[in-house]
């Protein structure tokens, strides 16, 4: 049985911003595995199949394959949208999918760090290049 861990793709039941119509949506967990505790929220960034090309600098394109990628399980092109994040609890998770490869996870963490520092007015490194 998979467990929540950094890099794991999970399918979560989440209410939309209006608090209505709970939807089933995919996330990649970004919280460090050793900080994920029962009954405590952790954080995921949204996965979406709707994105521009070239891939925007707040996205990381994830590996996919029409027959299902062996690591991510994605069968359509998709990105981790690092500028969209949400708290997740164990109870929210309705399915576990694949894992984001470590190199892609490294890029996701770098982008989240940059965006967070920019929003808090701290200096940050130059923007990550295109996300694919």
């Amino acid at each position: 049985m998979p467990t929540p861990q950094r890099g794991r793709i999970v399918v979560v039941r989440a209410s939309d911003p209006q608090g209505e119509k709970p939807k089933v949506r995919p996330f990649v967990i970004v919280t460090a595995t050793d900080e994920i505790k029962p009954a405590k929220p952790f954080v995921g960034v949204a996965i979406t199949g709707t994105f521009r090309k070239p891939v925007p600098d707040d996205c990381v394109q994830l590996p996919s394959r029409p027959d299902g990628h062996p690591q991510t399980k994605l069968n359509k092109e998709a990105v981790a949208m690092c500028s969209w994040a949400r708290p997740i609890t164990h109870e929210d998770i309705i399915d576990y999918k694949g894992m984001v490869p470590p190199g892609h996870m490294a890029r996701i963490l770098k982008i989240v760090d940059r965006l967070d520092k920019e929003q808090r007015g701290e200096s940050s490194e130059t923007a990550e290049g295109p996300g694919n």
Partner: protein, 83 residues
Amino acid sequence: MNKTSFSGVGSFVHITVVPVAGVTEANGAGLKTTWTSATAVFADEAALAHAVEEYPLSNERLLAYAARNPPPQSWYDEDEDLF
């Protein structure tokens, strides 16, 4: 016959090496390809380890980030199945 195999984090890598005496050259291309893949996986792991060290994102910091950056309604309205 010697056989060496191991798995990396998340079972991303599974390597089997079968040296055969006297036909090393004939098997060379296949072995080279195998080990190149392994090297790529290890570099990938190193990149993540480096990112974790360089970008310390505590859960507390991530929760604050998530509060400022919720997904928009349009994302919740997507109905494409990605898996």
